[in-house]
């Protein structure tokens, strides 16, 4: 278990103020926060690059506050990979084991094992300069995980990658986390990463931790305006996915939401990609989100080709001037948006029975 107690550090441009944080064994903690909020310096302080001005850091009960980075069993992966350009991929992965003077046979064995897991064995003889972004990040992750660290720090590991590569690597991170059971701290700007990976989320702003909780808590009940505007996502549901006549079905609290096979979103990718995604989701826990403006609200059932239609009651109405937000309870709570005119024409009141309709393509699965 990693425990930070009132850690402060001032580096001029970046600061940490009184950061206290606990990460359990094998836990996946995601840290989010605006640029310059001190996420990277927090990570580098845990890694031992900087000594905190105040406070203490404990790892598995041991005080590591003044410990040199190499004795901490903490490894780090940066957004821009930081692969050593003068070494081959294989030498990069073996770098840390060689520092530990592990025997040659054992180095080979461990490098082969981690390379297999990440599918990068064929890249071994190449130099980092010749790899694609996704390949580079796999190598960087391999280089860290092969050390079997107590804590692995990932500083926006997926941010520099394109959509598809990012999603693949995200799934692999999840798998690696399951296989190795390593405690992971992951910094990101991307809310999909939060939902698909995090056991726990910490929100940082101006060098402080402002909220810690499960992803649902953070997104449903943000503690302050900063978090609300930063996370800014409505209608997120956790459910179990299954395949049904070429579509994805997500069951959320007994409610069946239909999404397309590729789960909406970017809509890119070929057929192989799609079935690949669907098979990956089959029987697994996924998240679905629907943008409020994609949901039609009506007093009578709508006859349309839209695959999702639910009946429920108006829960809450927030009149915000131009747009009116209406929360509808259909078993789970959806938020929809109406224009002022539409709202007046419908004459909605709290408690009214209404119908919600949205297309399968409006459902974003991740």
């Amino acid at each position: 278990m990693l425990r930070m107690e009132k850690v402060s550090k001032n580096l001029g441009d970046f600061v940490l103020r009184d950061v206290s944080l606990e990460v359990g064994d094998g836990e996946y903690l995601v840290i989010i926060g605006p640029t310059g909020s001190g996420k990277t310096i927090l990570m580098e302080t845990v890694a031992g690059i900087y000594n905190p001005d105040e406070g203490r850091i404990f790892l598995d009960g041991r005080d590591i506050t003044g410990e040199a980075p190499r004795n901490r069993k903490v490894c780090m992966v940066y957004q821009d990979y930081m692969l050593f350009p003068h070494l081959s991929v294989e030498e990069n992965i073996a770098f840390g084991l060689k520092s530990r003077r592990v025997s040659v046979g054992e180095v080979e064995e461990k490098v082969a094992e981690v390379s297999n897991l990440l599918g990068i064995s064929h890249l071994h003889p190449r130099r980092p300069g010749t790899l694609s972004g996704g390949e580079k990040q796999r190598v960087a992750i391999a280089r860290a995980i092969v050390m079997e660290p107590s804590v692995m720090l990932l500083d926006e590991p997926l941010s520099a990658l394109d959509g598809l590569t990012r999603e693949r690597l995200r799934r692999e991170l999840k798998r690696i986390h399951q296989v190795y059971g390593t405690t992971i701290i992951h910094v990101t700007h991307n809310f999909e990463e939060v939902f698909s990976l995090a056991d726990k989320v910490a929100v940082m702003n101006k060098g402080e931790i402002v909220q810690v909780g499960t992803p649902e808590e953070i997104f449903r009940r943000p503690k302050c305006e900063m978090i609300a505007s930063f996370v800014g996502v409505e209608n997120i549901f956790r459910g179990v996915a299954s395949k049904s006549r070429g579509m994805t079905e997500i069951v959320v609290d007994g409610l069946k939401i239909v999404a397309t096979a590729e789960g909406g979103g970017d809509g890119e990718g070929n057929d192989g990609e799609r079935s690949d995604k669907l098979n990956g989701w089959e029987g697994r826990e996924v998240f679905a989100s629907v943008r409020p403006e994609e949901i039609l609200i009506s007093k009578v059932p709508l006859k349309s080709s839209a695959r999702n239609s639910f009946s429920g009651r108006v829960d809450e109405i927030a009149n915000g001037g131009m747009m009116v937000k209406v929360w509808v309870d259909v078993g789970i709570s959806f938020m929809t948006m109406l224009t002022r005119l539409g709202y007046e024409e419908m004459d909605l009141k709290v408690g009214d029975p209404v119908y919600l309709t949205f297309k399968a393509t409006a459902v974003h699965v991740f």
Binding site: E44, R70, H86, G96
Partner: protein, 235 residues
């Protein structure tokens, strides 16, 4: 002009003269020695200037840049006064390290004129390497020294090679400071530029031109290596 002045035969003939051979050997020895000294001093100094903040850093930077603007002749006078008349200079001489009018003085002159340049090349090389490489190396079990040795220095190898080559070629061509420190004694402190000067001043044109040709070749080759290694490096 210089290259077309004399036919290759006279060039070869002067190359076989004892005096020119002495100058070549002395130049090679002193320039290699001063380049190695430059490396030993400039690499740690440049690394500190690139990586750490310490009091007096800007003063150190200015002091290092000053000799670049100073005429080597003036630097030579300063060195001569230091080694010839100051207390530490005389103590060095008493201890057996005589710099004034000796080959040792040639090395010292080349070193002091070139070390700021070497520091600048190495400083911008180190500044171009993100310290995060070292951070990663440290989390992968390296001490500070090992991180430097296994990661930063190999990554700086282009700058190291280029800096050494250009320093070496500047050392071979150094005249003003060397003349002041070591004088121009034939067959004793006669480096290639000194030899060029001596031969020219007593009218031995063929010898002078063959020495000039050697110096031109050295500078062309080293410039080529330098450009190849550090095309875009900011100095």
């Amino acid at each position: 002009m210089v290259l077309t002045r004399s036919p290759p035969e006279t060039l070869l003939a002067s190359l076989s003269s004892k005096e020119i051979q002495f100058a070549i050997v002395l130049s090679l020895k002193t320039s290699v020695a001063s380049t190695i000294l430059c490396l030993l001093v400039a690499v740690p100094a440049a690394y500190a200037l690139a990586r750490y903040d310490f009091p007096g850093k800007s003063v150190a930077n200015t002091l290092l840049d000053m000799p670049l603007a100073l005429p080597p002749l003036v630097a030579g006078v300063g060195l001569l006064l230091f080694f010839g008349t100051s207390l530490p200079g005389r103590e060095l001489a008493d201890a057996g390290l005589v710099f004034v009018f000796t080959p040792l003085g040639i090395v010292a002159a080349q070193f002091f004129v070139n070390v700021p340049f070497m520091v600048r090349v190495m400083r911008s090389t180190f500044e171009g390497i993100s310290p995060r490489y070292e951070y990663v190396a440290k989390t992968l079990g390296c001490t500070e020294g090992q991180a430097l040795w296994r990661v930063t220095l190999p990554m700086a190898s282009n700058g190291l090679v280029a800096g050494s080559v250009i320093t070496w070629s500047k050392a071979i061509g150094e005249f003003g400071a060397v003349l002041m420190m070591a004088g121009a004694t034939r067959m004793r402190t006669e480096t290639l530029p000194t030899s060029l000067f001596l031969n020219m001043s007593c009218g031995k044109l063929d010898e002078a031109i063959s020495v000039a040709t050697i110096l031109i070749l050295i500078s062309v080759i080293s410039l080529y290596v330098f450009e190849r290694r550090v095309g875009g490096l900011r100095l």
